[in-house]
Symmetry: C2
Subunit: 112 residues, 2 copies
Amino acid sequence: MRQILDRIADKWSLLVIALLEKRTLRFTELRKSIDGISQRMLTTTLRQLERDGLIERTVYPVVPPRVDYALTELGCTLHDTIKALVVWTETNQAKIIAARRRYDERASEKLW
Amino acid sequence: MRQILDRIADKWSLLVIALLEKRTLRFTELRKSIDGISQRMLTTTLRQLERDGLIERTVYPVVPPRVDYALTELGCTLHDTIKALVVWTETNQAKIIAARRRYDERASEKLW
DNA sequence: CGGAATCCGCACTGATACTG
DNA sequence: CAGTATCAGTGCGGATTCCG
């Protein structure tokens, strides 16, 4: 249970699912869309999500290779709750940044 | 933005917020409730959540010391979306476990 | 009781090189 | 293009100790 929550709460997994909700994407498209992710981590993340039945991997036997990633039905149901989390973050990020500033200021005052 | 999402999507943070929604808890109560968390990680997690203005830390000047942790108003609004995530996990964990089994079986077949 | 501080291992991650 | 394989480093997190 917590094992599942850990996987889902992974930073890269959230982003991949958020991106795939809009449409099917190829490997390179995902890599370009997610700033800062390495090829290795993208591969690892996609494999885990595929293993959990959240995304579907389609390989086209062409040259050059083409692999599409899409949300499964299960993945779509997850996306709804993830989106709520993203929306909350967008809505409240100003408050959080302000709270951090207050906290850090109080902390630095106590040094004197 | 992603920095905030990372903090919130942290495995320990999710659990702490989920627990504090029911009622205010003391440090030791949290540690007992969250199986597998070390004292260090609980302290770190609580500090970060406090810094972000999601929980409130109340110190009572008594002996032995007593420290209460409670959700702030901002933390309460976050809890709603987190709860959706937890509920989703509970609802679908059977499907995920089944998907993993299928995936692993297919993988082991391909070794022959 | 509720921490802070220190040490330390290793798992995660990135970088690189290679392949079908 | 979409990976796999290998290796190196580093930072997270556990264990321990000490303190108000």
